[in-house]
């Protein structure tokens, strides 16, 4: 890990009160800044917080918010909450998978897209919902979702 990244992480650690309870919040910030949690970053945080590496890894792998591999430039979230499920979200997810040739949780080879399934984006009135980065697409059909993805190529 380069010195620049270390400084960034040091800054993030300082933001939170020292003590074990900060690890989730620090990882959240690191993830937001770096796009993922690298093995080096996890080790560095555990060293700084003086907690066992095994615990740092267990936290990093337990929560769905953390990714241990770099994510794509565009993050596609397909909602698989109950309300979206009823309105056919599985088919939408399948179509995106086929289009991008990746499964949920994976990133395309060119790092342009990563696909994530989420359990409810909180706008059930708009089901089925797909979110690309910060843009929400409501009531999408299988065909629409293909043209949505094209916009981000």
């Amino acid at each position: 890990m380069d010195e620049g990244t270390k400084t960034i992480i040091d800054k993030l650690i300082k933001k939170h009160k020292p003590g074990e309870n900060a690890v989730v919040s620090i990882f959240q910030d690191v993830q937001e800044q770096q796009g993922y949690l690298s093995e080096d970053a996890i080790r560095y945080v555990s060293e700084k917080l003086e907690i066992p590496v095994s615990r740092a890894f267990s936290v990093a792998t337990f929560y769905s918010a953390f990714s241990l591999t770099p994510l794509g430039r565009n993050r596609v979230h397909v909602c698989l909450g109950t309300a979206c499920h009823i309105k056919g979200a599985d088919n939408i997810a399948g179509r995106i998978s086929r289009q991008l040739k990746i499964k949920p949780g994976e990133t395309t080879g060119d790092r342009k897209f990563s696909l994530h399934k989420v359990r409810c984006l909180g706008c059930c009135a708009l089901a089925p919902v797909v979110k690309v980065n910060d843009d929400t697409y409501a009531g999408v059909s299988q065909d629409q979702v293909v043209s949505v993805l094209e916009k981000y190529r």
């Binding site: 109950t82 309300a83 359990r119 984006l121 059930c124």
Partner: protein, 568 residues
Amino acid sequence: MKIKKPEDLRKIKTRGMILLSPDTARITVGTATCGNARGAEKTVNAIKRELKRQGVKADVVKVGCNGMCYAEPIVEVIRSGKPRITYGYAGVDRAADIVKSLSTGKPVEDIALLRHDEHKTADGIESVKYSKGRPGRTYSGIKDYNKCDFFKKQKKLVSRNAGTINPESMDEYIALGGYSALAKALTSMKPEQIINEVKTSRLRGRGGAGFPAGLKWEACRRADGEKKYIVCNGSEGDPEIGMHRSFLESDPHAVIEGIILAGYCIEAQEGYIYLNDRYVLASERVKTAIRQAEKIGLLGKNIMSSGFSFSLKVKRGGGAYVCGEETALLNSLEGSIGEPRTRPPFPVEKGLFGMPTVVNNLETLANIPLIVEHGGKWFAETGTPSGRGTKIVALSGNVSQTCWVEVPLGTKVDDIIKTFGRGTANGKRIKAFQTGGPSGGILPARLLKTKLDYDSLARAGTLLGSGGLLVMDEDTDIICMARFLTEFFADESCGKCTSCREGVKRLLDLIDTIAEGCGTEDHLNIIKRMDKAMRDTSFCALGKTAAAPIASVIKHFPGDVKKRMLKQ
């Protein structure tokens, strides 16, 4: 200025009232997550542009959600002395018309949903009068708020301010009676007295288990510990329920006031609000609200010279459904993985960092200011014996109008679906419904008359949970639905105890076997036995209820199951 006595709130109140009903005009846009997803931010910008272009003056204010998610984006116009008009489906293309209505005085009739002559808070004490005199013929074509079933049949106690006030303005919250309960409590009530009121109110937890809030507080107050904590559970990980998020995005101060009151009663010095990791906007608005409360001394040292000091922090989780379980939540707050703990000891004795802790759902806490203000007896007048007060319900699935509403506990499920959801989308028959998120059973349409309260739902074989109500029409593949919910549990099981970790996987295999047409009577019997075993031996409620969806389908939809069984 720091607030020292109840009268100090009065000045802020006047300021807030002017904001709510200004001499010029106020245009509000619902910008909770549901509104934003429909482009509310774009509507805000378009309205600002139009105001400039047409040379009209008005305050443009972002408010929360009034519950009419189906009609987003929602825009409201308030002009001095005129009724408040609610517009629905107000996309960018309607901004010019809406702004024009300010100068012409003629409302945009085709998107006008409601007119409001006066906004009254739940208790009827605070009100904002919009219309002076009779509104006149210009408005006769628009439905009166008080005659509109969508609002008339609700009882908006907790969510009284949602969609009306700016969630980032403490002045507006105070204008409608906010923080007066806290001022009353700190200057004239002892903690024991408040706990008694909460006990009299018979308020039960709004998160799932339905434990009486007053008893929980009393136990924690009596527990020994050098420090005590109050934790607000805003984890809300159910895959169909976003109303607590909407609520926080609409009225964060209501929750904060409840937390401070709880802290005062149990003598906690610190509090945490634990939010779902995806609740970014809610978390920002809560943080803003905390800073505002700190600034006027309602959080911090020696609040209102009462000797009571209290600080509050927001923490976002890492995205795990199990963290809605209170002990898993505490582990997550301590920076560990969110696995549940053995109970006893219960959190009220040994909770966060080993100290006595009260964990309350955020809706439970938002009820507290009302109880303190009006007394437990007043509160208990609403609802049924098994559940006093109201419940916020998120209605979704195959309904015409997806929305969230607040109704007295004891309201019949089909009344909620008919009145607020306007039935199914294209007149199809309702086949099933589910309450309480994935842990609730899937119930058949013949049980639609069930009352929405703790005991009635439990008798019907489901639970109130945190208040989701999902409607499935006749086209729903009920086995597929059960599979979907079981898969959710398989994804979210934390893996601590064997019966849940292994149980959910085996359940999924069994459902697949049935879905593929290879199921036999034996498979059904194994599922029934597993349901019992998982209830008996799982560590927490996630595992205990993981078999509920498929077990309830086998019980209530034998026809659907039989059709899929192996033809012998």
